[in-house]
Structure formats: C-alpha cells, structure tokens
C-alpha cells in the first residue's frame, strides 16, 4: 500500500472507530439473530411489524403493503419470480417467505450463498394464523413475543367468532366472492381459498362449492349459486369492478344479491392475508353481512 493511501485509511479508521466499535458490540450481543431480513408475502411482513421487529427488515416483496411505512423498503418483486442478484444485493442474512418462493433456481442460488431460508406455511383458518405468528417469531428468535402476539390474536379471533355467530343467527348468508371481472366473465372464489376461509369465519357460506381455487363462473353457475351478497376486494382505478359493471351482468342481476344490490368491498390484504388483521376483517365482514 502506498503511504498516501495508508494515511487516508488511518484517517478513516480513526473517524469511524467509535461507530465501528458500537456496531461490533451490538452485533456480538445478538450474534445468533438474523439482522438483515427480506420479508416476502404480505401477511408475513405484517406479522414482523406486529412483533415490533420491523427494524430488522431490509427489503420486502410486491404484496407487502401494510402498514404503509413498509412501502419505503426496496421491493424485490414477486414471490414466484425472485431475482437472485436483486435479493443478494440487499445483503440479507435471512429470507422470510410465505409458501411458494421461486423459481427453484433462484432459491437454490440463494441457499448456496448461505442465506437462511424460512418458509412460513399458509392456511385459511384460525389455527393457520396462530401457527404463522409462532413460526415467524421462532425464526426471528423472539418466541416470547410470538406467544404474546398469538395469545392476543387468538383472543381477538375468539371475540370475532362470537360476533360472527351472533350476527349470522339461524340463517347464514350465501356469499359469492368475485376476484375480478373480465369482459363480463366473473372470476369467483371456490373451495380451499382465502376467500372461503374468511367467509366461513365471518359466519357466512361460500356460495360456490364446485371447484377449487379461483375460476371463471358461467352464467348458469352464478344463478345456481344464488348468493345473498357479493364480496369483492376494494381496489382503486382500472382494477376495480364498479357496481354498474357488476349489475350489468344479467346472471348476477337475477340472483338474490342482484335484486337487493348487496355488494361488499374490503381491503384485499386485510381480508385474504390471514395475518394479524384477520380478526378485524372477520368482525367487519360479519357486521356487514348482517347488514349493520
């Protein structure tokens, strides 16, 4: 090293020594805990915030948009289309993800770069929410906080279930979840979906039972489903389906929901995320279904 350069280094080291020392001490205190986390999946990110561990996040995925401040973090893209170098550029020590991170080549490379990968199982009922919370807390090495949050959320969910049971009464309402509408075709939520999960928790009945997942529903199937209420995600702008468009659909118009013009809209992530806000969503939906 040339003398001028080494003098420069000496100056830099002197200036940053106190900072470096502080960082060193802090990191030796929490050496076991991953400090640079990339969180993938809206509900997982929400849980990290609910646990109060958001300072450890360095990046998030496209679906993580709650709470609002999370959008200040860099966006590494869509869960199934991770860019290996993009994720590596965040220099993470842990990737915390919902089920289904991909493509497999990217996951392999990230694991080869000795980055810890933690997959949080999905599910659409009370237990799934609690399992997610406990698992995230465990991975973040804050199991006590996780137990506390899980207990709190469990209590909320029990309260919500009580509200739902009271509101639904003897005649549970039939709910049709409409994911989107393209060229007059309705994409509806069938069995084994988050939509069905939240409808059930709120004391309703999914009007569509013939298929799994989200699929287009024929006009006759819509009439046969005979929903009392139509449930949609609240989305702004082009993506949203207006009441006008919806009831311009003759099949929808001839259902009980069409006759009474019953449409409910709710924030998509809150309603379908199955995270800390699920209890809130269930209470809201239960009241709305009962027409309060």
């Amino acid at each position: 090293m040339r003398p001028a350069l080494s003098r420069l280094w000496a100056a830099r080291v002197a200036r940053f020594a106190p900072v470096a020392l502080a960082v060193l001490m802090a990191s030796s205190l929490q050496a076991q805990e991953p400090q640079r986390i990339v969180s993938i999946g809206g509900s997982v990110t929400e849980i990290v915030y609910a646990l109060g561990e958001q300072d450890r996040l360095v990046a998030r995925d496209t679906t993580s948009n709650f709470p609002e401040e999370v959008s200040q973090l860099p966006d590494i893209g869509y869960i199934r289309r991770l860019s290996p170098e993009g994720v590596l550029s965040m220099n993470p020590s842990l990737i915390l993800t919902e089920e289904g991170a991909g493509p497999p080549e990217a996951v392999e490379l990230l694991e080869a770069a000795s980055i810890e990968f933690a997959e949080i199982p999905a599910g659409y009922d009370r237990e799934a929410v609690l399992t997610k919370i406990r698992r995230v807390a465990e991975v973040l090495s804050v199991p006590e906080k996780g137990e506390a949050l899980a207990a709190e959320v469990a209590a909320d969910l029990d309260d919500a279930a009580e509200v739902a049971a009271k509101e639904a009464g003897a005649a549970p309402r039939r709910v049709l979840f409409v994911l989107s509408m393209q060229g007059g075709r309705i994409m509806a939520g069938g069995t084994d979906t988050a939509a069905e999960g939240v409808i059930r928790l709120a004391g309703g009945v999914n009007a569509v039972t013939g298929f799994e997942g989200y699929k287009p529903l024929s006009d006759e199937a819509i009439i046969a489903a005979a929903p009392d209420v139509i449930l949609m995600m609240a989305r702004g702008g082009e993506m949203g389906v207006s009441d006008e468009d919806l009831f311009a659909q003759p099949a929808i118009l001839s259902t009980p929901a069409g006759e009474t013009r019953s449409v409910l809209r709710m924030d998509g992530m809150k309603m379908l995320g199955f995270g800390p806000r699920t209890a809130e969503a269930v209470v809201e939906l239960a009241h709305a279904l009962a027409g309060d």
Binding site: P74, Y78, E85, G86, L88, E105, A113, G213
Partner: protein, 355 residues
Amino acid sequence: MVAIHPDAHAAGDRRKLARSTTWVLVALLLATAWASLAVGASGVSLPAAIGDLLAGRELEARTRIILWDIRLPRLLTGMMVGASLAVAGTVLQGLFRNPLADPGLVGVSAGAGLGAISAIVLGGLLPLGLSEVFGPALVPVMAFAGSWLSVSVLYLIATRGGRTSVATMLLGGIALAAMTAAFSGLLIYIADDQQLRDLTFWSLGSLAGSSWSRTLYAAPLMLTALVAAPALARGLNALALGESAAHHLGIPVQRLKTLAILVVAAAVGAATAISGGIGFVGIVVPHLLRLATGPEHRALLINSALLGASLLLIADVISRSIVAPSELPIGIITAVVGGPFFLWILLRRRANLEI
C-alpha cells in the same frame, strides 16, 4: 452465386459491407457481454474481481456466486437464446420466401409453449420417480418435445409425395397453432392459482431462471442449430429464386427443407423452454440486417446470430437494472423497444423496400 444478382458489382460491394458489418457486430457482442457480466443490482465489481483472480487471490463467496453462478450462466443463456431466435427467424423467412415468417407463425412457439405449460401444470401428477428424474429440466425437455412434435406433424400435413407445399405449411401452421392454443387453454383452466401466475410470467419471458444446469440442458440443441444453420445458406439463396429454379441449380430442395425445419425446431424449442416467450427478436434482427447488407444468406445467418445475441443481452441488462432489486420480464423490453424501432425502420425505408 453472382448470377443471382443482376448487378455483380453491387453484389461485391454488399459482400464487403456484410463482412465489415460482421466485425462491427463481433465488437458489439463483446461489449454487451462485458456489460452483462459487469452490471447488476448487487454492485459487485467485475474489474476488481478479475484483478483478484489475476493476482491469485480467492474471491469472496458472495462475489463468486454472483459472477460465476448468476451472471455468467445468464450471459451464456442470453447469447444462445438471442442468437437462436434470430437465426430461426432468418431460416424460416428464407424457407417461406416471406419476410414476415416468424417462429410464432408456423406454430413452433405454440408447440413449445404447450410443452412447457403441460410441464408446469401437470408436472406434479407424474409418478414420483419420474419427476425426480427430470426435476427442473422437465420444462425445457417438454418444450422441446412440443416444438419438435408440432413441426413434425406440420411437416406430415404439408408433405405429399415427397414434396412440401409452403402454402399448405403456412396455413397448416396457423391451424395447428390454434389447436395447440386450445390445449394450452384447457391446461390453463385446470391450473391452480400459483401455476397461473407462473404461466403468466413464463409467457412474458425472462432469463431470471438461468442456472448452470438449465443452461447445460438447453445448450446442445441451440448450439447444434446455430452451427448447422450456415450450411443452409447456399440452398436458401437458391430457394429465393423459387423452388423449381433452386432444383435446376442442383439444390436438393426436399432435404434442404427437412434440415431447415429441424434447425428451427431445435433452436426455438430450446430457446422458448429456457426463457419463455421472447418476441420480436426473430423478426426484427433479420429485417434490420437485410435492410443494411442485403439478402445473401451466409452473411445474414452469421450476422443475425451476432446481432440477436447482442440485442438480447442489452434487453436483459435493462430488464434487471431498471426496477432493481426486482426484475422486469425481458419479453416486455424486447416488445417495447423492438416494436417501435421496427416500425421506424420500415417507415423510413418504405420507399425502397421491396416486400
């Protein structure tokens, strides 16, 4: 060969121009290849890494993974895919004597697509042992099988008494593409939510899934096609005068067609399998070069491979840096940049374009 050109002097000039264009394109490819290795979200420095290597120092694990396991396979894949698509376009256009022929037109891409979609949607249904054997190679293998199958069926339809009718082949290709699309539609209907999103992203094209294993699976097919293509040049030049003229010039027309079809199936099948639907390269690249250096196929095929590779690398560098740390599908870039550019060239040269 000179006899093909009415003006021998002009043909000589063009040949010289084509040769100097080749050198320019080689330089362009080297520059884009360097950029593709040097640019990325992580800010790993290529010159520094090369310096370390030359000095005999070990690279840091992270640097090694980014350069060796992420950027290098991606560079090689991009080069091969770009070259394959451009060469396949050139061969098809020569074969059909129609500058609008495109791998999409004769159902090759649709066949490859059906293969890949089947692998994505039905892959989980395979008996356990089978999916273990293929693993991540299932999509590339199925896509090649699909493109090869659709070209073979097309060839059977269009060939009667040992002769292939180009008109029947074009129309048959459109019919076949429609049927293939119907099957793909059926598979898309039974796909679940996650598979649907995989399909959407796959159809937009990306080099993000490049890895050594996938590159090595697809490379033999693409390289064979690229090496074999220049051998078609003389035949394609003669074919430009019409089938009977080519026959009288001593070209084994039937064998030429068979070979050309195989080259296209291999190039497009492997390229589609590894990178999804990347449009416009197959049609823009040969066009640009034909406008610049004329229709002689040997130069056209070599230059197409070089320019196709460079353009895809440029598009890939843009796709991974424009929204870093996320990534834009590369098919969007090629379409957004390629479409208007192509139109501009067409309009500018409309006066002396002989299509």
